[in-house]
């Protein structure tokens, strides 16, 4: 009987795909390999005692505060689309918001909004920023929930459904202005929100873990924060420049 070398034992321990398929049977039959494997197992289990300290509860907020202050202000914003495109789209959005309608976009832009394209642009940014903030609140509830207990997400589900209905308008606007970054994020958000909306109202720990896995794999909270920070920086810059204009 050929004995296994250490590398084969390590692959088996970690469940790697290229571990030998008959590993369990071989360890059953071969005392020498079984002993070597147990020895390896003890060492690696001991190594697992090297626990990484849990970050403090406020780590997330503290970290973000440190990061946000160092984010470079990107003039021109998270969209690279020309201002006139944003203004035209903003006019459409403004019209829809005023009418309280979130259905398909009307084609013609209102001349009143287009008359002040920068103001209309700011309204759109404000709307996206607010949308991202509300999305983040829903996701944060899920991300920070106790993973060992069932979780009632009926409230978050209602919010998620509202957000999905609302996002269509922003996504269409972003696509119209050629802002693929925002449109892509809104697509990602829609997928996650739909998953929340269609999940059972009371999540088991396993369902919660699966949902959190989706959030992690999409990196959605991080993306929201990056775009949100961009929007806020632009708003601050816009407010500063309009203040300076008024003074002059």
């Amino acid at each position: 009987m050929n004995h296994w070398n250490e590398e084969q034992l390590i692959l088996y321990y970690y469940g790697e795909d290229d571990a030998a398929p008959d590993a369990a049977a071989h360890l059953q039959d071969c005392g020498e390999c079984r002993q070597a494997y147990r020895s390896l197992e003890r060492v690696l289990e001991a190594a697992g005692q090297l626990a990484v300290p849990e970050p403090a509860e406020d780590f997330d907020e503290r970290l973000w505060a440190r990061i946000e202050s160092r984010l470079p202000a990107r003039r021109g914003g998270f969209t690279m689309a020309p201002v006139w495109q944003w203004a035209a789209a903003a006019a459409v959005l403004l019209a829809a918001l005023v009418a309280g309608r979130f259905g398909p976009l009307p084609k013609p832009a209102r001349p009143t909004a287009a008359a002040d394209p920068q103001a209309a642009e700011r309204v759109l940014r404000l709307a996206v920023s607010d949308y991202l903030d509300r999305s983040q609140m829903v996701l944060t509830e899920v991300a920070n929930a106790n993973p060992h207990q069932p979780l009632d997400i009926s409230f978050e589900q209602e919010r998620a459904e509202d957000l999905v209905a609302e996002s269509r308008l922003y996504r269409q606007t972003a696509l119209r202005t050629g802002d693929t970054a925002v449109a892509g994020l809104l697509d990602d958000l829609d997928r996650v929100m739909l998953e929340i909306a269609h999940a059972p109202a009371r999540l088991t720990p396993a369902e919660l873990e699966s949902l959190r896995g989706t959030l992690d794999s999409e990196g959605i909270l991080f993306k929201i924060r990056v775009l949100g920070a961009d929007v806020r920086a632009e708003q601050a810059a816009a407010a500063q420049s309009s203040g300076a204009e008024r003074k002059s």
Binding site: E16, V43, A47, L63, I67, S217, G219, F222
Partner: protein, 153 residues
């Protein structure tokens, strides 16, 4: 990977800043998690290299605030506590002896549960190289720990 909680916080901060700056380069087809790990691993390796150039000695687990390497403490017996302490010391020393790549590969495999294929993407090397980094790390840790955790073979 840094062996120090404060450095780890700095690495996380730097990683997110780099991710922010490079977000436009993120390939949507790739896994966001793997992409973030790659950035964090690079930040971590950069920091370790800077420390080495400055002859920095990383703080071991017995530092003043005791936050670096902590054992779970399910009310161990005195014997077990002593053994755990020795294991912890040897482990910390052995981890410090690993090369940067070996330590990164081992942490990603053992603590983060990444597969060899994913580790190779994070460390931007061939899967074979990632696998051998894990092997070498385990072999070195084994040499350091086996005499106390598994003395009879």
């Amino acid at each position: 990977m840094t062996g120090n909680a404060e450095d780890a916080e700095d690495v996380v901060q730097e990683s997110f800043l780099r991710a922010y700056r490079q977000l436009a380069r993120f390939d949507e087809r790739a896994s966001f998690g793997t992409w973030m790990y790659r950035i964090a691993a690079n930040c971590s390796l950069d920091l370790v290299r800077v420390r080495k150039r400055r002859n920095y000695v990383p703080v071991a687990e017995d530092d003043a605030d005791g936050r670096v390497l902590e054992l779970p403490s399910p009310a161990p017996s005195p014997e077990r506590a002593a053994l755990s302490g020795e294991v912890r010391q040897r482990l910390a020393a052995a981890m410090n002896e690993l090369s940067e790549t070996e330590r990164a590969a081992f942490v990603l495999r053992h603590f983060e549960g990444l597969r060899v294929e994913e580790i190779s993407q994070v460390l931007e090397c061939q899967p074979g190289a990632a696998k051998h980094s894990v092997f070498r790390a385990v072999q070195k840790l084994r040499r350091a720990l086996e005499p106390i955790v598994s003395p009879v073979r």
